[in-house]
Amino acid sequence: MSKSWSVPEPPPLRPAISGLDYEGLLRCVHCGFCAQACPTYRETGLETLSPRGRLTLMRALAEGKLPLDEGLAEPLDLCLGCRACESACPSGVRYGRLLEEVRVLTAPLKPPGRLIRFGLRHLIPYPGPLRAVGWLAALAQRLGLLRLLPGAFGDLARALPRIHPARPYRAARAYRTARVLSGGTGEEKAGQAPNGQTVLFFRGCIQDAFLFHQNEAAIRVLTAAGARCIVPAGQVCCGALHAHSGDLETARRLARKNIAAFERYPGPIVTHAGGCGAHLKEYAHLLRDNPEWAERARAFSARVMDFSQWLAEVGLPADALSPLPLTVTYQDSCHLVHGQKVRRQPRDLIRTIPGIRYREMNGADRCCGSAGIYNLVHPEMADRVLREKMARVAETGAQVVVTANPGCYLQLRLGVQQAGLEGQVEVLSLAELLDRSLRGPSPTAPAVSDRSPGTGACTGGSGGSDT
C-alpha cells in the first residue's frame, strides 16, 4: 500500500522545546469529544478556540512546528481554564496541567494589565496587606467610591456584597482569639465531633479579605456537624491564580508555605472554594520534582477535601436544620466538578434542607465566565458566557442560586445585577445556605453576612501571627 497524501510523518520522539509534557500532549487523539464542553468553542464555533485546537497548538509548539508568538498565545490566553474538557475527554488528557505549563511560556507575550499583575504579585500572596485592601474597599464601598472603578474592575466591585467595615479586623481577631483558645479551654467550646474529627480550615485569600462572612458561615456549619475546627496560622493564598496565569514560581512558593502551615496538624484540610481545593490537590503535581517537598506535598494533597465532601461523609444532624421554603438551583464550580469530580455532594446537601424545592439547572456544570481573573482580563468573552448562564438560571425559576467558589459567587451576583434580577434572585455560597438553615427560620432576613458573626467555634493554630 502506498503512502497517501494524508498520512503524516511520525511525530518526533522528543519535543523540540522543554517545559511541556510532550507525552501528555500526545494522549490527545483529537476525537473532538471535548468541543461542546468548551465555553469558548460553543460561543464561537472555532476549532482554534476548542480544547482540541489548543492542544494541537501546544503540540505544534512542542514539536517546533509553530513559533512562540502572539498568534499562538491568544487562543491559549482566551481559555477560561474551566477544565470542563477534562470531564468530556475519553482519553484522560490532563488539560489543566498542560495549560498551566504552556502559560509559563505564553504569559510574557500576553501579560495581564498592570493592576492585575501588581495584585497577583504584591497583594494576593500576603494576607495582611490584602486584608487592609479589604478594609479600604469596605470604606470605599460605604462612601460610594467603589462603584466608580472603571471597566471590569468596577463591575466586579459593584458585584461585591456589603463588606462590613470591621470585618477584616474582626477576621484577624477571630483567628487570633482562636489561637489563644487552642491553648486553653476553648476546645470544649469548639464542640466535640462525635467521632472526634478535627478539621483544618483553609481560609483562602479573597474569601478572607472580602467574603469573610462566607468563611464564618462555613466554620459554623462545620462545627454544627461536630467538627473541631482549626485554622492553622501561617497559611496563605493557595496560588491557583498564579499557576493559571503562568507564574508557577510564585505558585510553588505559596504551596510550600501552606504545606508547612498545615503539616503541623493531623486531619483533613477543608476548603469551601472549589478553585482553591482543586489547586491544593495539585500541590503533589506542582512540587513533584522538588526532592525536599515532593513527599510532603503528596501527603498534603491527599488530605484536601471540599467542604461538601467532608459534610456529605459526616452528615449534618437532621434535627438541627430548619426549613427554608425556597426554590433553589446549584451552579457547579468548574474546578470542583471537573477538577475534583465533586458533583453529587453539594446537591445532596442542598436537598437535605427541609422545605427546599431543588431545580437542576440546564448546563449547571458549564462555566459562568468567572474563571479566576478571566472576567477581569477578558470581560467581553466572560460577559457572553455569563449572559448564557443567566438565561439558564432564569429557566429554573430559582430564588436562590447556590455556588461553591467565591469567583462564581461574585460573577453570578454580577449576572443578577446585569439581568435586573436584584431582589428576585439571591446568590449564596453553599456554606451560607446551610448556615441559614442551621440558624433557624427568618424568611425575610437578608444574607447571613449581616448578622452577628459567632465564630467562637473556631480554634486557631499555634505559631506566629498569621498576617
Partner: protein, 454 residues
Amino acid sequence: MIAELEEALGPGRVLTSPQALLCYALDATYHVGRPEAVVLPESTAEVAAVMRIASRHKVPVTPRGAGTGLSGGALPKGGIVLSLTRMNRIKEIDRKNLIAVVEPGVITAHLQQAAEAAGLFYPPDPASSQVSTIGGNIAENAGGPRCFKYGVTRDYVLGLEVVLADGRVLRTGGRTVKNVTGYDLTRLMVGSEGTLGVVTEATLRLVPRPEATQTLMAVFPRLEDAAETNAALVARGVTPATLEIMDQLSLRVVENYLHLGLPVEAEAVLVISVDGFREAVQRQADTVAAICRELGASEVRIARTPEEAQELWRARRSISTAITQVKPTKIGEDVAVPPSRIPELIRRIQYLREKTGLTMAIYGHIGDGNIHPNVVTDLRDREEMAKVEQVLEEIARIALELGGTLSGEHGIGTLKAPYLEMEVGETGIDVMRRIKRALDPDGILNPGKMRLDE
C-alpha cells in the same frame, strides 16, 4: 481568491493564520490534511458564493462539521475548509408530520433533545453524538448502537438542500416518507462524504418516543453463545434497541482502569436494552434475561433505575478511554458482517491480535454485525505502525470473506480508501467516478476521498 472570499463573507470569517490552518487540518483520525483557508459561512447563499468562487479558481473545497469523523472525510487536500458549524439552527420540529428541518451545523444531541421535548425521537446515535453535526452524520451516513432496530442516518433523511460544485442549489426529496419521483438523489447524497455537494439543509424524519427503556447486562463464558443472542431474541419476537458486545480483552482493559468488578474470565459480555411501552418493556426484559440464561450466560443483571442502567453502560462506554491508557494512538475500525458470522469475525481478529502482539479491544454492535476492533499504538513506533496497517488490511479482507463490508458507519475517507476496490470492484469504482464527474467535473469537492480522483 482570499480577498474574494472575504468580500463574500465579511470580516473575520475567512481564516488563514497558521494556527487556524493547523487546527482545521485534523479530524478524529491520525491522518492530517493541509488547508490553505478556512471559511465560516452562515447561510446557504454564502455557501453558494464560496462554491462559485472556488469553482472559478478551481480550488478544492472540503466541507467540515465538528471534525469528529473516523475515516478522514473532513481532511482537506489543500484549498478551502468549509466549516458549517455556524449554520446551526433547528428551523422546525413538526409534531403532526413527524419532521425536523435543520441546518447542517446542528449538533446531533441538540436535535435529539429538541425532538424529545416535542415527545418525539431521532434514533441515529453515533458515539460522538454530543459533538457531531447532522451535516457530518449525513455526509458519512453515521450509525450507532440503535441501528439494528431503528436503522442508520440514511433511513431518517427525507429531503436535502445541497449546494453543488458550481454553486447551484439542488433540492432533493421532500417532506413525505413515500417519494418515488425521479432518481433518489437524497440517498445518493447521504454517505457521499462531501464529494458531490454541500448539504445546507436537511428534512429529517422523527418517530414517536418510546415510553420506557430497560437495560440488561449478560455475562457469557463462551463467545459463540453470546453471538447467538441476536437470532434467539428475534425468533422470540424481541427486537432489542441495542445489543452491544465486549470481548475479553476489552473487559480486562476496562477492569484494570476502573475496577468495576467486571467478570474478566468471561469471553464476552453483552449490554442489551429494550424499549417501548412500560409493560411491554418489562416483559421483553424478562424474555431477554431468560434467553441469555438458556444460551449459557453465567450471570444476567437487570438495571432497576436509570442510574443502574448508566452503571451497566459505563463499562461499554469506558473502553475507548481505558484502552488509550495502554498506548496513545487509537485507530478505530468498523467492519460489518452478517450477524451470524460475528463469532467467526471476532475469533479471526483475535487470532490476528495474538499473532501480531498488538493491543486491540474488540467490541461493537452485534445486532447489525458492526464490530469495532480498536488498535492502540504509538505513532512514533514506525515498526508497529507498519504492522498496524497490515492488520487493518487483513481485517478488511476477513470482513469481505465473511460476506461483510469495509465500513459499517465511519465511511471510507482517506483511511479506508486503499481497500475500496476490494469491495466494490473495478466496475464499482468506475461507476462512482462517473457520478462524481457528472456533478463535479473539476473535482473540487473534497478531493482525495474514496479514490474518486485517482
